[in-house]
Symmetry: D2
Subunit: 304 residues, 4 copies
């Protein structure tokens, strides 16, 4: 298998990819942008791409949401949630008391601010495109950087030594997804999620309420809902939604059909096992057996 | 065909039955109560029974609703709506100025009160079990009745003469239904109604709201909903419901399945052509084609 | 105080009235119909009237619902729930083995059918206008009645002896209400109900759903909802509703205002202590304190 | 008045600020980040700050949403919507055929991609922090830039000449808001919007549905709803909401009170005139008069 990921090497995205069950011959290729990684799958250069989807502090990754909503369709085959932990890394031999210039991504700086104030009060933090590229720059010895705030993986990648570990001030988690070409979804695992994008019919007041009721009537619980703008006018949105359950579940299937009817368009983004293994909240009378029994009863009424 | 109806001969129920397309050899038999008429169908003594279901002034006929809800199951095959018009009828030779005692059912008296006050201010109105039995008593010459308020049909039945016609003060309509043994529903006519009884799960707040949402989510319009008590405790109800559409319609079928899941029990009482020939209100995206297209789309997602 | 009740003496309605805290000088007057009893209040002949409202077996008393909905307005001041128990009563000296003709109301006969089949298999049951009038007729010695099925109160009223007690086959309860002229409602008792009639705007699909949502959004629980026909056309309904709570409660008041806005008309029928003393189900964040705090917060936003 | 805006000079944000009715002595100060601009208001260094809120192509400006949701509270006093139009600007004397390196913000590049492919197929586009800083760099002659894609305002700011105007491929609009310290909202204009952030009570399934119903029950139309993550765990959201109407409107006030009750917290972000002057969609029976009449009616019932 050939996997794309949002690079450069040493990103948390690479760490997420490496947490999947990989084979010894699998190839992992970094791409500079989410779009580039996904295009490599669409063009069959790779078989799948791991990209970040949302972070508990920064929110959704808009580039990923928009690619999923309006780019050539891919589906989610796996999700991975990683606790974001930062190390302070430097070239071998550099000690903490000699660190004056620290490279990192602004988000990482924001999450390590208290640690920096306590341990490196005089250091200058210089923004980089990613934590991995900061580590890369430190390793390459460019721009007079003394250290980088980066993922534990980055240290090993760029043969850097770890001056301090777990320096983030607060816990944060990032959710990554493996995107693959559309195809038959994996069989239900018993703890699945289903992702989709619902495009509202324009100018219909109450459209979001109607969308939510399609789920509620079938007892399907939502775990995420986000609006994203569509088109040139302000006020035109689609909704990026994750719900509990698998497309093969009767209640999820019927909710999807309801959405398909009431929305301008619904894009199915896959059913896949939840990273946290949590089983769905089952409302009363919404099991496959309940639906099957209702179908059997209706068939009898109809004389089928 | 052998038909039962709520008698005695000359009732509005008989008039409703006679408005159906009858064959020359069909037998029409009056029964003294709604229950007796329906039991004759259940015991295969007759093939169908016509009974009153609701009146625009008096409301539902509880005996009929309760038989439909908890008696051995029958289904509605036809509905008939009749405008309730009353005649003042008497034995031949009796003239209006000699009428002193008028027999009729209290409901009929209530609906003719203004006419009576104007034209027969001194007459005594004596209650009878039905307007037809009042006419029968007048014909038989019992109890010193001079006249009866009854249906036009009753006059011809009992060879009475009509002293005044259309004497009701206000317009009123009564809806009758033909009940037959459960079997395959007639094919959709394009202007159908479906009747059912939904039994709530006990002690669930919001249960009626949940029932209504099963219809609303599929765009199925209700034309009647009534609560009826169930069992010995106050506060325990079932709901007698008429909705637009036919059980063979996709939106009605899915709503029925939803009810079957969320209710303690649902009793299907038939799909049949509306007496008024009115076509259903179709909400956006609720036609059979819309459901079929959604089913096809879901099948594709599931790899079926 | 002068009280009207649905007579004749010895009815369950009289028993319900006697369960209220009466004074030694209170006058109790029977009236032949629900309308007559209520008119006596409207015409200030009496100060209040007790009438039956619903029975756990027979359902609502339509005459009462319709008087409350469209007659000159009265309000409910008290509710009484009575377990319906029947006695077989006869003139002194009559023994069970000599009973051949039993007078009673058809509902009472229906509720004692198994007992009659076992203990008086050969007896003829003759219908009467009420159980109390059956007892009255037995006492008066008319129509060759040997016994009556009636309330325990009827036996003492008409000086009859009790041949058998508690002969009903199933438990049943009847709910009675004391109706008085509109005025300030009694203060909240902590376990109140509020009754009202909501008239739908014509031809508005989803009107009932909208009515229910006015309650649901404020966390007000319904205990009864019934449709009643309005006017000459079939398909035109009002809804007779009981909800938990008192008109003085913030959540009930706001729900009532919501109904007042979305309905063609809302008729308030009073707030009164529940007969069963059950406290209301309180949804999260719906106490008077919650509403007051929200009001205070809004006032701050508005710069009031 | 002293105004802050998201700089540097020449941004679309400055153009938005300049479209407000400014006085001759008003001071306009650029700040490097949204947070810095807003902090200047909070610290009373300025009286108000204009920042971007959402773009029809890029979506919401997360920095602004998060500052509004969790920073020290400010409120929206004005909104401005600007059509995003780009010019290609260069130092005087530079002609289109000599442009090899173009600086701009990646979003601007994305919106001008087709124009660039047609007119500057060989040019290298270099990312800048903002379109204004790209123009600034071109003016300063740094980094060998030949031209910048920037706002029309930037050209005049940095004394650059316009090589091509209106080079964007698609229409896009950006919405800016003027944020000021909390205080009494401006009086209703007849075409107002109200903004708020609703924080869900944790772990309550159906919480978003409940939030939407608070608006729907009072007939208040939403124009924007977006989820934003809250806290360290994934799956914890607040909702950033714009609705039609003014906090002084009865229907909006009651909806806000409902939210205040059912949410963990509601932050009011102001009522202000809509930039597009569009009047609110008024559902039946939701005017201030309707609410006042309902209040008056309730007062009568309560004996107030």
């Amino acid at each position: 298998m050939r996997y794309a990921y949002l690079g450069p090497p040493g990103t948390f995205t690479e760490a997420a990819l490496r947490s999947l069950p990989l084979g010894p011959d699998d190839e992992l290729t970094p791409f500079p942008t989410v779009s580039a990684a996904l295009d490599s799958v669409r063009e069959q250069i790779t078989d799948g791409a791991v990209v970040p989807m949302e972070n508990s502090i920064e929110g959704s990754v808009n580039a990923t949401l928009d690619e999923l909503a309006v780019g050539v369709r891919l589906v989610i085959s796996h999700e991975v949630v990683i606790e974001v932990a930062f190390d302070l890394v430097a070239r071998p031999g550099v000690t903490l008391d000699r660190v004056r210039r620290v490279a990192t991504h602004p988000h990482a700086e924001a999450q390590c601010r208290a640690w920096l104030a306590r341990h490196l009060p005089g250091a200058l933090v210089v923004p980089a495109a990613s934590t991995a590229s900061a580590a890369e720059a430190v390793a390459a010895g460019v721009a007079d950087y003394d250290a980088a705030i980066a993922s534990p993986l980055a240290a090993s990648h760029y043969s850097l030594s770890v001056l301090a570990t777990g320096i983030q001030d607060t816990d944060a988690h990032t959710r990554f997804v493996l995107l693959t070409p559309p195809g038959n979804p994996p069989p239900p695992s018993g703890h699945d999620k289903t992702s989709l994008v619902a495009f509202m019919k324009q100018d219909r007041t109450g459209a979001l309420l109607e969308i939510l009721e399609q789920f509620a009537t079938r007892g399907v619980n939502l775990t995420r809902i986000e609006s994203r703008p569509v088109g040139a006018r302000l006020g035109n949105y689609c909704f990026s939604i994750d719900c509990e359950g698998h497309v093969a579940d009767a209640r999820v299937g019927e909710a999807l059909m309801g959405l398909h009817r009431v929305c301008a368009d619904v894009r199915f983004l896959g059913s896949y096992a939840r990273a946290d293994g949590q089983e769905p909240t089952m409302a009363d009378a919404t099991s496959d057996d309940d639906f099957r029994e209702a179908q059997r009863w209706l068939g009898g009424l109809r004389g089928e």
